[in-house]
C-alpha cells in the first residue's frame, strides 16, 4: 500500500492548465473558456452520451483520452453518462452503418429535450473513408439533425475540447431541437 501511495504522491497532479503551473497552454485556454460557458449556461454541468454508430473505434480512443489525467475533462463540468436519458448532448461517431441506423434514431428519441448532437470525426461529419454505400448511411446528419461537426481522423482531444466550446459559445442553446 505504501508503494501505491508513494507512486501517487510522486506522480503528483499532472492535469494541464491548472494555473499557474500550466504545461500545455492549449488545454488551459480551451478548458477555461469551456468552463466559463458551461458554468453560465448549464450551471457547471454538461452531460454527454457518446454513441458509436459505425466508427472504426479511432474516434472513441481520442474521446476516452479526454478523461485521462492530462485533459481531465470532468473538471470543466463535462461528464460522459451511461444513458441518453441523462444526456444534454449526443456525441456521435460514424459513418452511421445501416445496421446502426435504427439504434441511433432510438437513442436520439430517448434523449430528453433540449438536446444537441455533435458529429465527431471525418466519417461522422461527411462519411469520411467509408462514404455512403449499401452498408453505410454516411454522415450522421443523414440520419439525425446535427448541431456541430468536429472533423479529424480522428480529432485530437484538444480538437474535441475546442469543438465542445464552439457549440456552447455559439448561443445555439437557444435553438435546441424540439
Amino acid at each position: 500500500m505504501l508503494r501505491l501511495y508513494g507512486k501517487i504522491f510522486r506522480t503528483g497532479v499532472l492535469t494541464e492548465g491548472i494555473p499557474p503551473a500550466s504545461k500545455d497552454e492549449a488545454v488551459e485556454r480551451e478548458g477555461a473558456r469551456l468552463k466559463a460557458v458551461i458554468d453560465k449556461r448549464f450551471r457547471g454541468s454538461l452531460s454527454i452520451r457518446q454513441v458509436d454508430a459505425g466508427s472504426c473505434n479511432g474516434c472513441e480512443l481520442e474521446i476516452h483520452a479526454l478523461n485521462n489525467v492530462y485533459y481531465d475533462v470532468e473538471r470543466f463540468g463535462v461528464h460522459f453518462v451511461a444513458s441518453p436519458r441523462h444526456a444534454d448532448i449526443l456525441m456521435v461517431t460514424g459513418p452511421v452503418s445501416r445496421h446502426m441506423e435504427a439504434a441511433l434514431k432510438r437513442t436520439y428519441e430517448a434523449t430528453a429535450d433540449p438536446k444537441w448532437v455533435i458529429a465527431v470525426g471525418d466519417c461522422g461529419v461527411c462519411g469520411g473513408e467509408f462514404g455512403v454505400s449499401y452498408a453505410s448511411c454516411g454522415a450522421v446528419s443523414n440520419v439525425i439533425p446535427v448541431d456541430l461537426a468536429i472533423a479529424g481522423c480522428p480529432p485530437t482531444p484538444i480538437d474535441l475540447l475546442r469543438g465542445l466550446l464552439s457549440l456552447l459559445s455559439d448561443s445555439v442553446t437557444n435553438q435546441a431541437h424540439g
Binding site: 506522480t11 472504426c56 473505434n57 479511432g58 474521446i63 478523461n67 449499401y134
Partner: protein, 547 residues
C-alpha cells in the same frame, strides 16, 4: 526452412521433434487426404507465399477439414471471391509456422459447399459471413442462421457478388434486426438480459444476450455486425495507396497492423521488395502500436475492477506515447504512416534518441508499477480465476494473441513465420497457462516489456537506406497473402489485383474474428457483474470483425 531454424534456435530442447514435424506436417496431411480419396492439386510455385496453395474438389472440402483437424492444423480464416464465371472459395490453415491455403471453385448459381464448422469452431461465423455476402450455402453447418446481414439488404442479394453495386438498394430507412433467433433458456428463475447494441460507455456497438440464474451466467450469445461498413466491397477498384488508407481504418486501434498486412499482401503480389530501413521503421511503428494498446488495456482492466490508481497511471503513460507519436510521426495513432513499398515517415537520429529515452523511461515506470499491481489484493480478488478459457478450448478455437497466449497457445507470427525485420531479431513470446483474466492481464504486461526490448533492438540496428521502393503495377490477376502479428494477434490479408493495378478483392482477417467466440465460453459460470472485465480482457474489435 529458414523458419524452422529460427523456431528451433530458441527451443533447443525440442529441436528434433520440431524439425520432423515441420518437414512432415504437409506430407502427413497430404497422405491422409490421399488415403481418403481426396484429389489434391498443389499449385507450385505458390502465388501466395509464404503460404502453400492447394486446390481441391468442392465435394472434398469438408473431408479435408476433418483430416486437417485430426492432425491439429489450426483453422485461421476463410474468404470467397467472385471471379465472374465461378466463385473461388479459400480457407487458411496453419501448423508449426506453415500456412496452407485450400482453394476450390464453385458455380455462381446456387453454390454450396460442405461446411468446415463441424470440425472447426472458428469456421462457424466466418462461413456465415460468406453465406450472407456471397450466397454460398454451407452443407452440414451446425447453425446456419444469418450473421453479418441484419436488415440492410435482402436475404437473396449478395453484396460481394460483382453484379451487386456498392451503393446497393437500401430501404429508405433500415429497420432494426428484431427477429434474430437467439437461443432461449427456459426454467424456474432463468431470465434473459439483452445488452446493446448501444452500450453504457464509450464503446463500440454490439449485442450480448445473456441467460442467467441469479447472478450466474448460464449462457451468452453474441450478436455482432452492427458496424458492418462494407469494407470488402468499397475496397474494390481502389489503387494501392487508397487500399492502405482503408486498411488503416479497418480497426482504428490497429492502423499500423492492418495497413502493414495489406501492404505486405500487395507487395508480394506486385513482387516489390521494400527497403530494409522501411521494414525496421514498420517494426518500430507496430511495436509502438502494441505498447499504446496494451497500456490502454491494462488501464481499462484496472478501471473495470474499480482500481482507479492503475487506470490513471497506465492512461498517463499511454498519453505520453501518443504525444510522442504525434511529434515524431505526425499522428497520435500513427495513421497514414505506411505506403505501398515502404513508409512515409522517417526516424532521424534525434527521433531515435527520443524514442530510446521514452522506452527506458516507460520501463522504469513499469518496474515501479509491477510490485504495486502484484501486491494489490483487490486486483487479485477480481482477476484470479475470473473468466477462465481452458487451454483445450483455446486450442480448439485457435485463439490468437494475448487471448491464446494466456491459455497456453504459443503461436506468434513474428517468431513462427518471421517477416522482415523480425527474422533478424530475437522475439520473446511470453505464455501463461491459467487462462483467466489475471493471465490475460499479465501476458499483456509481459508483451509490453518484450515490445520495449524489440524497439530498442530495432533502433540500435536501424539500417540506412531508402524509405520506399518504386511501385510496380502488378498484372491483372496477381494475388498476395500477408500475415502480421498485430497487437491483438495474427492479422491475415488476401489481395487480388484487377486491371490497371486496381484492387479486385481485399479480405482482412482481424484476430477478433477468431477470438470473439472465446468470450461466450469464458464467461460461463461467472457472475453478470464480471462480464465487463471479462469482455475487456479479450477486447475484441467490433469494427475489425464486422468489416
Amino acid at each position: 526452412m529458414n523458419q524452422s531454424k529460427e523456431f528451433v534456435s530458441k527451443n533447443s530442447g525440442r529441436q528434433e521433434s520440431i524439425i520432423t514435424e515441420n518437414l512432415d506436417a504437409r506430407a502427413m496431411l497430404d497422405a491422409a487426404l490421399r488415403s481418403e480419396g481426396v484429389k489434391i492439386l498443389p499449385i507450385t510455385p505458390s502465388p501466395l507465399l509464404p503460404a502453400d496453395l492447394t486446390e481441391i474438389e468442392s465435394e472434398d472440402w469438408g473431408k479435408t477439414a476433418q483430416q486437417a483437424s485430426a492432425q491439429n492444423w489450426r483453422w485461421a480464416g476463410a474468404w470467397a471471391e467472385d471471379r465472374g464465371s465461378d466463385l473461388a472459395m479459400n480457407a487458411c490453415l496453419e501448423k508449426e509456422g506453415r500456412y496452407l491455403i485450400l482453394r476450390t471453385y464453385l458455380p455462381p448459381d446456387e453454390p454450396s459447399l460442405p461446411s468446415h464448422a463441424p470440425y472447426y469452431w472458428a469456421a462457424d461465423r466466418a462461413e456465415r459471413h460468406i453465406q450472407d455476402l456471397f450466397g454460398i450455402r454451407f452443407i452440414d453447418h451446425p447453425d446456419p442462421k444469418r450473421w453479418i446481414r441484419h436488415q440492410a439488404w435482402d436475404e437473396n442479394a449478395y453484396p460481394l457478388r460483382k453484379n451487386f453495386p456498392a451503393d446497393g438498394q437500401p430501404p429508405p430507412s433500415t429497420p432494426p434486426d428484431s427477429n434474430y433467433p437467439f437461443l432461449k433458456a427456459h426454467g424456474a428463475s432463468v431470465y434473459e438480459i439483452p445488452v446493446g447494441p448501444v452500450h453504457a460507455g464509450i464503446i463500440e456497438p454490439g449485442h450480448f444476450r445473456f441467460q442467467a440464474v441469479g447472478e450466474t451466467i448460464l449462457h451468452l450469445e453474441e450478436r455482432l455486425g452492427y458496424v458492418h461498413k462494407g469494407i470488402e466491397k468499397i475496397a474494390e477498384g481502389r489503387d494501392p495507396l487508397g487500399l492502405v488508407k482503408l486498411a488503416g481504418r479497418v480497426s482504428g486501434d490497429t492502423p499500423v497492423g492492418h495497413s502493414w498486412t495489406a501492404c505486405m499482401a500487395m507487395e508480394r503480389a506486385a513482387k516489390v521488395e521494400i527497403p530494409l530501413r522501411a521494414a525496421y521503421i514498420r517494426g518500430i511503428l507496430a511495436e509502438r502500436e502494441r505498447v499504446i494498446n496494451h497500456l490502454w488495456d491494462l488501464a481499462a482492466l484496472c478501471n473495470d475492477v474499480g482500481f482507479a490508481a492503475g487506470y490513471y497511471q497506465f492512461g498517463r503513460l499511454r498519453e505520453l506515447w501518443l504525444r510522442e507519436n504525434r511529434a515524431l510521426f505526425g499522428h497520435r495513432l500513427m495513421m497514414n504512416t505506411l505506403v505501398p513499398g515502404g513508409v512515409s515517415v522517417d526516424v532521424p537520429p534525434d527521433a531515435a534518441g527520443r524514442m530510446q529515452d521514452s522506452t527506458a523511461s516507460l520501463r522504469r515506470e513499469l518496474d515501479e508499477l509491477l510490485p504495486i499491481l502484484d501486491a494489490n489484493s483487490s486486483l487479485e480478488d477480481r482477476f484470479l480465476t475470473t473468466g477462465v478459457l481452458s487451454s483445450e478450448l483455446a486450442s480448439a478455437l485457435g485463439a490468437l494473441g494475448y487471448v491464446g497466449r494466456a491459455s497456453g497457445q504459443r503461436f506468434d507470427v513474428r517468431r513462427d513465420v518471421p517477416y522482415s525485420p523480425y527474422e533478424s531479431l530475437k522475439v520473446r513470446v511470453p505464455v501463461e497457462v491459467q487462462g483467466d483474466v489475471a493471465s490475460r492481464f499479465w501476458v499483456r504486461y509481459k508483451e509490453l516489456r518484450a515490445a520495449l526490448r524489440l524497439i530498442e533492438q530495432m533502433l540500435a540496428g536501424l539500417p540506412s537506406g531508402d524509405l520506399v521502393s518504386e511501385w510496380r503495377t502488378p498484372k491483372e490477376g496477381a494475388e498476395g497473402f500477408g500475415a502480421v502479428e498485430g497487437w491483438r494477434g495474427e492479422i491475415l490479408c488476401y489481395v487480388r489485383f484487377g486491371a490497371g493495378g486496381r484492387i479486385s478483392r481485399y479480405y482482412p482477417r482481424d484476430p477478433s474474428v477468431i477470438n470473439w467466440p472465446a468470450l461466450e465460453k469464458l464467461v460461463l459460470g461467472n457472475i453478470v457483474p464480471d462480464f465487463p472485465v471479462c469482455n475487456k480482457s479479450v477486447n475484441g474489435s467490433y469494427s475489425g470483425h464486422d468489416l
